[in-house]
């Protein structure tokens, strides 16, 4: 980069020119020609090395070949046009394929196009274009391809283009993300699937370092994997997902042996959805295990607790007979009752329901539930709006269980709103109940949505709120069983209990209950 010292703009006619071509003869010919005409010349043998030069030097003009290894000419042009500091560079495509297929200059952001041919013809064309560049970049690119008539080997070049197109189409439409890396791990190829996984544009990612895509901790893992691949020259399938743009990604690393170096091909697969489903399955299994365990424990506790309560009652009677004022037996009974209540809840969480379901209307179940709690909600200054549409399909449920679920959700919403009321007195506090019919995987459900703009749920605990004994309420206020029981009730009904929340903003609890089969249509 000895040219830096010459960067003075003294000579108006002297231009700084970068020539990018992979054939040494072309580079030499162009350097000689341009230097003879009093210009400074820099050369690069592919798109990647051109970009490296462009990091420190801004040329006035660039001559770019189209078919090159390590970032082809068309991509190089697009990258240049995406960089504001290079917007004034006069771009000339200098390529043999220019004669076969009219390159879309506007797409590439190029200003002129010269077809390759014998030296004398090319020299004349290059000098003509140089002259026209004196007046700066044209508003519209020169449509005519200069020197087209001197072109050779039309048919063959066309075949070259056709086979290139075939591969490009394949790579553009495959669902796996594919990246090509140089031995120094710079990205020189990326297909659309990989762009969408990484969430970026081709212009901004080409020529950047592959490792930079990952978090710092994972960079080391990826680096050592690639190192191993280079050493063993064996393809590696990495099936432990790594995080990339908030997605879970697994990948294959494939070594591609060149003459004296190894470049790398990376195939990315987005497994975010699969991992989520696995996590859900795992969660469901864990819940079931807890259920089985807790029903066993509950039965074991129930008997001694009944004993404790019985003996405490005997004690109380004896004190009464002796006319002594002693409240300890009552306290024992009260505490034992609390244990009994928890055990009862545990059992209802775990128990397999045998009771028959009956046809019901959501509206009826909801109004029964609201009868129990409405007064308390409204008393706290909460705007309660119930909007259950008429003509909802009939559901087949054990209505007292569904009522228990509704009651649970409503009192959670009530608590969340009360927490907010104490902080923001002046705001509106809303509890809204709506209904709709939805279809999921060809099954029809009635969905009841409970919306409150209360304290919300932190995203870190959103997936834990249905776990037994998980509670955010102060000790003694909640058992941590409400939602786990609700969850198991809804699950036993073949329905779904879903949450959506932003902490400090709102919580939306959705109960989906399957419509009775014959009412589907």
């Amino acid at each position: 980069m000895m040219l830096r010292s010459l960067e003075s703009k003294g000579n108006g006619y002297m231009k700084k020119i970068l020539v990018v071509d992979n054939h040494p003869v072309m580079l030499k010919f162009m350097s000689n020609l341009l230097e003879k005409n009093g210009h400074q010349v820099l050369t690069a043998c592919d798109g990647l090395s051109a970009l490296e030069i462009l990091n420190t030097v801004t040329p006035d003009i660039m001559f770019v070949d189209l078919i090159m290894p390590n970032i082809s000419g068309d991509k190089l042009c697009r990258i240049i046009r995406s960089r504001p500091e290079l917007k004034d560079v006069f771009l000339v495509i200098l390529s043999a394929i220019a004669a076969e297929e009219k390159p879309c200059l506007t797409d590439y952001g190029a200003d002129a196009c010269i077809a390759k041919g014998p030296c004398n013809k090319m020299a004349a064309h290059v000098l003509t274009v140089l002259k026209s560049s004196d007046s700066g970049r044209p508003k519209y690119p020169m449509e005519k391809i200069i020197g087209k008539e001197t072109i050779y080997g039309r048919e063959i070049t066309k075949e070259l283009l056709a086979s290139k197109k075939h591969f490009e189409t394949t790579l553009n439409n495959i669902s796996e993300g594919i990246l090509g890396l140089t031995p120094a791990l710079k990205i020189v190829y990326i297909n659309p699937a990989a762009l969408s996984i990484i969430g970026t544009s081709e212009e901004s990612i080409l020529s950047t370092k592959f490792l930079k895509l990952f978090h710092e901790k994972q960079q080391r893992i990826v680096a050592s994997l690639i190192k191993e691949v280079c050493e063993t020259k064996q393809t590696m399938d990495h099936n432990t997902p790594l995080e990339l743009n908030d997605k879970q990604v697994i990948f294959n690393i494939i070594p591609v042996e060149n003459d004296n170096s190894i470049s790398i091909l990376v195939i990315l697969k987005d497994v975010t959805r699969r991992k989520q489903m696995e996590a859900q399955l795992y969660h469901a299994q864990r819940m079931e295990a807890i259920g089985t365990l807790s029903s066993g424990v509950a039965h074991e506790i129930n008997n001694p607790i009944n004993g404790v309560i019985g003996y405490a009652e005997i004690l109380r009677d004896r004190y009464q007979e002796l006319d002594l004022d002693e409240d300890i037996p009552d306290r024992i009974i009260k505490e034992a009752d609390r244990i009994a209540e928890i055990v009862k809840n545990l059992l209802s969480f775990a128990r397999d329901r045998q009771e028959e379901k009956s046809t019901s209307h959501v509206k009826d179940i909801l109004s029964n539930t609201l009868g129990l709690i409405e007064r308390r909600i409204v008393k706290d200054g909460i705007k309660l709006s119930v909007n259950i549409i008429d003509g909802l399909p009939i559901i087949q449920v054990r209505s007292h269980e569904i009522q228990q679920v509704f009651l649970n959700i409503l009192s959670n919403a009530h608590d969340a709103l009360r927490e907010r009321i104490s902080n923001f007195k002046e705001k509106d506090h809303i509890l809204e109940i709506t209904s709709e019919t939805i279809d999921v995987e060809s099954l029809r459900y009635v969905r009841i949505t409970f919306y409150d703009n209360g304290s919300g749920i932190h995203e870190n605990i959103l997936n834990k709120i249905c776990d037994p004994f998980f509670s955010t309420k102060p000790p003694g206020k909640g058992t941590g069983l409400g939602l786990s029981i609700s969850h198991s009730i809804i699950k036993n009904h073949g329905g779904r209990l879903l949450f959506d929340s932003v902490e400090g903003e709102y919580t939306k609890t959705m109960v989906d209950l399957p419509v009775r089969q014959q009412d589907k249509n």
Partner: protein, 105 residues
Amino acid sequence: MNFRELSKALGLEKDEYVELLGLFVETSRTDLLNIQTAVAASNLDKLARIAHSVKGAAVNLGLKDIHVIADEMEQTARNGHQKEIFHIIHRLEETLDDVAGFVTK
């Protein structure tokens, strides 16, 4: 081949033309090695690409013989006729030697 006339026709000084030819011979010898490796590995696609590149430079320098041979090589590779390639490689080698002989003179 009359290189003096060729350089004149291409509008180049003789010295410069010789320099470019030297570079061409040097590059093409490496290309030839790569062509041989490609044939050995039955990688005709790669072979065609190299032949294409040799052909392009030959056109730049007005080397008609090499242009024709490289063109033939590219087509033969594209058509998958691996056996015939060896013969063409040999011809390319010989013609390159001719050019090289001129350069060193």
